[in-house]
């Protein structure tokens, strides 16, 4: 039976810790350096993760150690707005998914998440993580994509040179838009829409019905008559929808 001790510095960085139902508590003997303790915990994390997927809540020996393992972590936090605790948790999740310990995720790793199997637009979402032509996702990209789903910060100070924050309404919409627009030409063509509809509607809907729905959709949203939906038209037709609500999830600490 192994127990987990935390060093005093932990309390400062990571003031609270969460205990999950299936949390495995790990004992690390004193004297083990931060670096090694990180290794051991990830070792155990990987061993135990298949038992309960949400057991990756093992808090590291000191938050510093995990954070220090991640390159450019300050820049990442600055860009995405995640707190250190969020980043640590996401890192653990990343490593839990990264079964072959490559330090990067491939499509297979994503597809092995069993809960995703019943999701109709699974492929598109997985595809959203992989930039054009890339076959692997590193941690930074992983976090950056997930940052789209942070709730919008209302009181984030606007710096002069800051580009659009990752979780702003426009960025969220752009993410959604890119799910449709696979060829990245800035428009959702009828074919692309048809493909999405096909995945989202049951099998018993015939192709003709599908096409009529697609046509109707384009007809309603298309303002400039090019028979495709551009990003602006997309945004305009969704202006009444509360995007903050619909595209945010709570990131657990």
């Amino acid at each position: 039976m192994i127990m987990f001790f935390s060093s005093p510095s932990d309390v400062k960085n990571n003031g609270h810790r969460r205990f999950f139902p299936y949390c495995h508590i790990i004992l690390i003997p004193r004297g083990v350096s931060g670096h090694e303790s990180g290794g051991i915990t990830t070792f155990f994390a990987r061993r135990f993760h298949h038992v309960t997927d949400h057991s990756c809540a093992i808090i590291m020996g000191s938050g510093d150690s995990t954070l220090s393992k991640i390159p450019n972590v300050e820049e990442l936090m600055e860009e995405t707005g995640f707190s250190p605790a969020h980043v640590v948790r996401l890192y653990e999740r990343f490593q839990a998914l990264d079964k072959s310990k490559k330090g990067q995720l491939s499509r297979k790793d994503f597809e092995s998440i069993k809960e995703l199997a019943t999701n109709p637009i699974r492929d598109r979402i997985i595809g959203a993580f992989f930039a054009q032509g890339q076959e692997m996702v590193d941690f930074h990209t992983f976090v950056r994509i997930l940052a789209h789903f942070r709730p919008v910060d209302k009181n984030r100070p606007k710096k002069a040179n800051m580009q659009e924050p990752v979780n702003s309404r426009t960025s969220k919409l752009r993410f959604a838009f890119q799910l449709y627009d696979q060829d990245n030409d800035g428009k959702i063509s009828r074919n692309e829409l048809l493909q999405v509809l096909r995945t989202m509607l049951e099998m018993q809907v015939t192709d003709e019905q599908l096409e009529s729905i697609a046509d109707r959709t384009i007809q309603e949203a298309d303002l400039d008559g090019d028979n495709a939906i551009s990003f602006d038209e997309f945004r305009k037709s969704l202006e009444k929808v509360n995007i903050d609500h619909k595209m945010s999830i709570r990131f657990l600490r």
């Binding site: 997927d53 949400h54 990756c56 948790r89 996401l90 999740r93 839990a96 998914l97 994503f110 998440i113 809960e115 995703l116 019943t118 999701n119 109709p120 637009i121 699974r122 979402i125 997930l146 789903f149 709730p151 959604a176 799910l179 999405v196 509809l197 989202m200 509607l201 049951e202 018993q204 809907v205 015939t206 192709d207 003709e208 019905q209 096409e211 009529s212 729905i213 046509d215 109707r216 959709t217 007809q219 309603e220 949203a221 939906i229 997309f234 037709s237 969704l238 009444k240 929808v241 509360n242 903050d244 609500h245 619909k246 595209m247 945010s248 999830i249 709570r250 990131f251 657990l252």
Partner: protein, 739 residues
């Protein structure tokens, strides 16, 4: 007369005077009402006509009152400007004052006050059922945590705080000499604590706040009945027991009774919802009475809960909430419409009656006891503690909510804590013997009700506008919004899975899967289950709009005369999802009475919407079909998803003219563009009979819409060969229309 006394407080003198003033000569001096005019006195000659007032007195009075209340509402709506400024409920109360004054002037006694039994058994249930049946379930259950917190903790806080403060002030002597003890203050506090769903609905729907805010206040007002009933009964029992008998055991029993009443009531509601769903599975052959089952079974749930001393409002709420999905899927389309309209009539009508009578009941000097301190302080405490309660609870909730409730919303929520008929009903139910100051409490309740409904109701809209609350948009979602909403749901679940978070959507997915695997096969008809696809419903609904506008335009142009018919035999009324399309196709090909040289090859499976249009055109050139039948044959029996509008005045599918026209025009315009360029020019010259210019114009208007459905499909999907052939439909259609 015992019946009468239950519904209206008829004083005996009134009955007698009615007799003597109105009775005709033949009933003689018989003044008792029981025999209803078949007087025991001997008649000397054959009466040709007799005055049988007592024969019909009770039903006549009831019906007359209902008519009067509805006439008042009618009069109100004649002045549109008035209803915009002042909420309808306030106006109805004011009218009630006037009517009450008239009655008082005539009879010197308030003969028609609102009896609690009438209120609780005959006026309230349908309003709550309407609320539950049209409740937006997704929104309701995703905010359930917040709603429960407000309903339970908020109501208890209101009750206790108001009761105790009043007691404190009483001890301090600001109220003069009153014969009340602390328990009675608690009882009074508890009956005033309940935010009233009727009043809230009436005011909020005029204001159109955003849906989250609405559902919080509305859900709270529905669910707090459980708390109110328990508090009221517990305090009532305590008052009977006396202060000395109250010990820890009794208090624990009180808490347990709350749990039992609340959960028991909800459970009864769910049980009856299941029964109702199962019932509607079997009523395929009884579509005429099918709608009636909803009302009967729901009312039974209300009464059963009442019988078991559980919360009847919770029972009927959950009955409506749980059964709506399955019942709407199982029943015939016409039955769904019937239920919807009938429920609106009942709910709206009852609400009108309640408010009018709330006004009338006030005009009774016998009940008026004025105690400045008591009354003013009550009003003050009710307001202040509501504000405190809302702000504190929201602060607690915001730490756990994804999207926090803003300050503005909180202000509206606290301002929207309206008291209404329920508080009044409970106050009238107080036992005069036990509670000496019943009249004072009754007056105070009435004043609180008037204050909240009239004053707060009137100022709510300006307040909302002033605070610029995020108002909900009134428009219908277009296809891409619905599509995208569904896509968002999927995306969020996927992201949660990927990032290893558990969240709301996870639970909702789990519930959806459970429901789909176990509950739906049990409660929903097989055929209904197949057609449950939501997106298709939207498409279907939009096509319904198209179809409505098509028919409307056609009727307006006068060129759909051919479409009117009494011959029902030609109806194609399809309920099944799509299987029997192939049955129709041979009919089409064989039934071409117009010798069209081109055989139109149709694919094996077609969207039924356009198919019916074409088919009807073909089969009934000279034939006639009622516009409604034509509409119906357009439609698959895919279930409509009624977008909830939080309004008991509007019924949903019946969109206003502008919207329908807009869609029609937009469709028409785009189709006309594609038509004009390629096909219209050619076909028109060939086959068009010489006709007036405007008729041509009308045809141009008509055809695009008529073709809107299938031209979309065919043009873009068929081979050029087929395209050319389908263009021949146009001359055929035009010929048809011209005739």
């Amino acid at each position: 007369s015992c019946l009468e006394s239950m519904y209206f407080t008829h004083t005996p003198s009134e009955t007698a005077s009615a007799d003597t003033t109105h009775s005709g000569n033949s009933t003689g001096g018989n003044t008792t009402a029981e025999n209803g005019g078949h007087g025991a006195a001997a008649i000397t000659t054959l009466p040709i006509v007799t005055w049988k007032w007592h024969h019909v007195e009770l039903p006549y009075l009831i019906t007359l009152w209902v008519l009067v209340c509805w006439l008042v509402k009618l009069v109100l709506h004649l002045y549109k400007r008035l209803t915009i400024e002042i909420p309808e409920s306030a106006m109805l109360i004011l009218f009630g004052f006037i009517l009450g004054g008239m009655i008082w002037g005539a009879d010197k006694a308030q003969t028609f006050a609102l009896q609690p039994r009438t209120f609780f058994f005959f006026l309230l249930p349908q309003i709550i059922l309407d609320a539950g049946y049209f409740m937006p379930n997704k929104l309701f259950f995703s905010n359930m945590g917040a709603i429960l917190i407000f309903a339970i903790i908020g109501t208890v806080w209101n009750a206790v705080a108001v009761g105790l403060s009043l007691y404190g002030v009483y001890l301090g002597g600001a109220m003069g000499n009153l014969d009340i003890d602390i328990l009675q203050f608690m009882l009074f506090g508890s009956l005033l604590s309940a935010v009233d769903p009727v009043a809230v609905l009436a005011v909020f729907e005029e204001v159109h706040v955003n849906e989250v805010l609405f559902i919080l206040v509305f859900g709270e007002s529905l669910l707090n009945d459980g708390v109110t009933v328990v508090l009221y009964n517990v305090c009532d029992a305590f008052v009977s027991l006396g202060a000395d008998k109250i010990n820890a055991a009794e208090i624990i029993k009180g808490i347990v009774s709350f749990l039992v009443v609340a959960f028991g009531g909800s459970l009864i509601g769910v049980v009856f919802a299941i029964l109702l769903s199962l019932l509607t599975r079997c009523t395929k052959n009884l579509q005429i009475i099918e709608p009636g089952f909803i009302f009967v079974v729901s009312y039974l749930s209300y009464l059963t809960a009442e019988m078991l001393s559980l919360s009847s409002i919770l029972a009927i709420t959950f009955c409506g909430v749980c059964c709506q999905k399955y019942v709407n899927a199982n029943m015939a389309e016409s039955s769904v419409t019937t239920v919807k309209y009938a429920m609106k009539v009942l709910a709206n009508g009852s609400e009108t009656i309640i408010f009018v009578f709330l006004g009338i009941s006030a005009i009774d000097p016998n009940i008026w006891v004025w105690n400045t301190g008591f009354i003013l302080l009550t009003v003050l405490f009710v307001l202040v503690y509501r504000i405190i309660g809302v702000f504190v609870l929201t602060w607690m909730l915001n730490r756990y909510r994804l999207i926090p409730i803003e300050i503005i919303d909180q202000v509206i929520m606290s301002y929207g804590g309206l008291r209404g008929g329920v508080a009044y009903g409970l106050a009238v139910l107080l036992d005069q013997a036990k509670i000496k100051e019943k009249n004072l409490m009754l007056c105070t309740t009435l004043i609180v009700v008037y204050f909240t409904v009239i004053l707060q109701g009137v100022t709510m809209k300006p307040l909302v506008t002033w605070l610029k609350v995020k108002r909900s948009s009134k428009s219908e979602l277009c296809l891409i919004e619905k599509l995208q909403n569904r896509a968002f749901d999927h995306i969020l679940v996927a992201i949660e899975d990927i990032s290893g978070q558990i969240g709301h959507n996870y639970m909702r997915e789990k519930w959806n899967k459970f429901e789909e695997r176990f509950i739906r096969p049990l409660l929903m008809k097989t055929s209904a289950r197949k057609s449950q696809d939501q997106l298709f419903n939207v498409f279907h609904q939009l096509n319904l709009k198209d179809a409505i506008s098509y028919v409307a335009e056609g009727e307006r142009c006068g060129s759909l005369d051919f479409a009117r018919s009494d011959n029902d035999a030609n109806l194609v009324f399809k309920k099944k999802f799509g299987a029997d399309l192939s049955d129709i196709i041979p009919d089409i090909n064989s039934d071409l009475s117009d010798k069209d040289p081109y055989d139109i090859p149709l694919p094996s499976s077609l969207p039924s919407v356009c198919l019916d249009v074409e088919e009807e055109m073909r089969r009934k050139e000279v034939g006639d079909n009622n516009a409604h039948h034509l509409l119906q044959t357009h439609l698959y029996k895919a279930r409509k998803q009624h977008r909830h509008r939080y309004s008991r005045k509007e019924t949903g599918v019946n969109k206003d003219e502008n919207e329908v026209q807009e869609i029609f025009q937009r469709t028409m315009r785009s189709r006309l563009e594609s038509f004009k360029s390629t096909k219209m020019g050619v076909s028109q010259n060939k086959k068009l009979k010489p006709s007036k210019k405007d008729q041509v114009h009308k045809v141009c208007l008509l055809l695009p819409t008529a073709n809107a459905c299938y031209m979309q499909f065919y043009n873009l999907t068929f081979s050029p060969r087929c395209q050319m052939e389908t263009s021949q439909i146009i001359p055929v259609m035009m010929k048809v229309i011209m005739t």
